[in-house]
């Protein structure tokens, strides 16, 4: 049963990932990304990380990819791109180098953690996973007691990103184009 779920979700993830890379229409690529995200959510459920699965769907599939699609539709770039044209010369070799590096890191991590991964008793399941809200309790305890500093730093990072975006979007206009706007 566990193997069946894994094979299905892995197939979803791989098909989606291939779709993101190969589809020439940006909207189709974004939809493939949704498929991948759902596959990851299914994997989370199989690993008993129910809360992560729900958050994955709510945040990534429900908000982030919707915003991708929103921008694609608003800017009207929703037509098929010619993949042969290359605006930046270096980006393809660079992408090759980076993806090889990422693959190497992932494989190295799996090889190193082989022993603990093979032992099912040391899986991701929180203690007392059968209890109804075990997931939420465990995650809350981790975030708000052990890793509070990192959590707060992340929130500051997000805030800086928001402020930066607003500042970039409402830059002072040139004097020729209407009245100047206070930033």
């Amino acid at each position: 049963m566990a193997l069946f779920v894994f094979v299905c979700s892995a197939a979803m993830i791989l098909v989606g990932a291939l779709g993101v890379v190969t589809r020439s229409n940006p909207v189709h690529a974004a939809l493939s990304l949704v498929l991948t995200l759902f596959g990851v959510a299914v994997t989370f459920v199989a690993l008993q990380a129910h809360f992560l699965a729900a958050v994955q769907v709510i945040v990534y599939a429900g908000a982030i990819v919707v915003l991708f699609l929103f921008v694609i539709m608003l800017l009207g770039v929703d037509r098929a791109e010619n993949l042969r044209i290359e605006p930046l010369r270096v980006q393809r070799p660079l992408a090759f180098v980076v993806s090889t590096g990422v693959a190497a890191v992932v494989i190295a991590a799996i090889v190193r953690a082989r022993d603990s991964l093979a032992d099912p008793s040391r899986g991701l399941a929180p203690t007392g996973a059968d209890a109804h809200d075990a997931n939420v309790r465990e995650i809350a305890r981790e975030i708000f007691s052990s890793n509070t500093f990192a959590f707060e730093l992340t929130s500051v990072l997000l805030l800086v990103a928001v402020v930066g975006t607003v500042l970039l979007a409402r830059r002072q206009r040139s004097p020729g184009a209407g009245h100047p706007v206070r930033p």
Partner: protein, 407 residues
């Protein structure tokens, strides 16, 4: 894998034929009830609006026009199915199902009845199996509904985009902005309920609301309910938030190019969502299938307790369906900038502030602080925040006016 999929007592231990049968019956029941309820809801809405506007409404097909929706459905089935030439064929065909499936899925986690008196926690006996009268009780509970409602936007969005013409595209751009904006307020006011109940499970939330004094609308202090109701109306794209299909501006909105059975699927999804959302509001704030009671005295209907829960749920849900129809009949549609102002400047800060107030009170109760002092101090901090926010709004509005914007 025990206990992983549900806390439903039936699914723990071995799974025999009776368990499978109960689950299949539940699935069928939820599906059929959903379809029939949608049919009746369309009739109800047309009849009530007709009454409010001094008209008769549908009265030809069946007694009181009850079968009008069925007649319309059959008519839609046999109409010609059009596929616009400039449409994205695959996505155009996919979109109605993306709208329909979430509408039915969300219904799965609503407790549809059961006996919540005493310590029974809504558990009834079916075919010798102890079970709950709800299709699924996932460990993430209410978050499942939130996840589903965040997926529902895809159907509308992709329908508009894939039609390949401008009015549907405008409708779908509006839809995505509106639904993403209001989901934040929806989630934050849901957070208030979760904070008070201390559990994610819908059955657990219902179980705690034994009398009117324990209803979450009272324990969370009314404000989260109002915000949830407004945000839910916006999520449903129902009037006064139906900019997605504003027929005066956008012909028909996102579904302009749809005809025949595909249009019927969108129609079905929209009304199904309304019913699901009403049931969710009742579950979260009004005790779901719990009988209405003040203190220790509960109103006891002269029917078996196991069925009584369903009757109570029905009464409460119909009250909310009436409220939605009432909204539609009385409120004018918002302008787009008013919609965004309400969402981002009123509902999201308001729900966040109320959430913080409730959290502070809870911390204070556990630390043994004086509740009045905690509430006053929090309210003071929040008032300061409100002052800063309204000043920022005023400055930005002055800037925009100087810049020559219209509003």
């Amino acid at each position: 894998m025990t206990g992983q999929l549900a806390v439903d007592p039936m699914l723990e231990g071995g799974i025999g034929w009776a368990v499978v049968l109960v689950v299949v019956v539940k699935v069928l029941l939820v599906f059929v009830v959903g379809l029939v309820a949608t049919m009746l809801m369309v009739w109800f809405e047309r009849k009530v609006i007709a009454g409010m506007q001094n008209r008769v409404g549908p009265n030809k097909a069946g007694p009181f026009g009850l079968l009008q929706t069925l007649a319309d459905g059959i008519k839609l089935f046999f109409k010609e199915d059009l596929l616009p030439e400039r449409a994205d064929k695959f996505v155009f065909r996919l979109a109605p199902y993306l709208a329909l499936v979430p509408a039915f899925l969300a219904f799965a986690i609503i407790p549809l009845g059961g006996d919540f008196r005493g310590d029974k926690a809504g558990i009834v006996t079916l075919l010798g199996q102890q079970t709950r009268l709800q299709l699924a009780d996932p460990p993430v509970g209410v978050l499942f509904a939130l996840a589903i409602s965040s997926i529902a936007v895809y159907g509308i969005m992709l329908a508009g985009w894939s039609s390949g013409s401008k009015y549907p595209l405008l409708g779908s751009v509006r839809a995505s902005a509106q639904m993403v904006s209001y989901e934040a307020a929806l989630g934050l006011s849901l957070g208030c309920v979760l904070l008070v109940s201390g559990t994610l499970s819908t059955a657990g939330i219902v179980d705690l609301q034994t009398s009117i004094g324990n209803w979450n609308i009272v324990t969370t202090g009314f404000v989260p309910f109002v915000i949830f109701l407004i945000a839910a109306t916006a999520e449903l794209n129902r009037p006064p938030f139906d900019l997605v299909e504003a027929e005066q501006e956008l012909v028909g909105g996102f579904n302009t190019e749809y005809a025949s059975i595909r249009f019927a699927l969108f129609f079905l999804a929209e009304f199904m969502n309304t019913i699901t959302m009403s049931a969710l509001i009742v579950t979260l704030f009004f005790g779901g299938p719990q009988p209405i009671g003040i203190g220790d005295t509960t109103i006891d209907l002269p029917i078996p307790n196991a069925i009584e829960g369903t009757v109570w749920l029905l009464i409460k849900v119909i009250a909310f369906l009436y409220v939605y129809v009432w909204f539609r009949a009385t409120l004018p549609r918002l302008r787009y900038d008013q919609l965004m102002d309400l969402g981002w400047k009123v509902l999201i800060p308001g729900s966040l502030a109320w959430f913080m107030l409730l959290a502070a009170q809870r911390v204070g109760r556990e630390a043994g602080w004086d509740q009045v002092v905690v509430t006053l101090a929090t309210a003071l901090v929040l008032l300061g925040g409100y002052g800063l926010l309204s000043r920022a709004n005023r400055v930005s509005r002055e800037n925009r006016e100087r810049d020559g914007a219209q509003f």
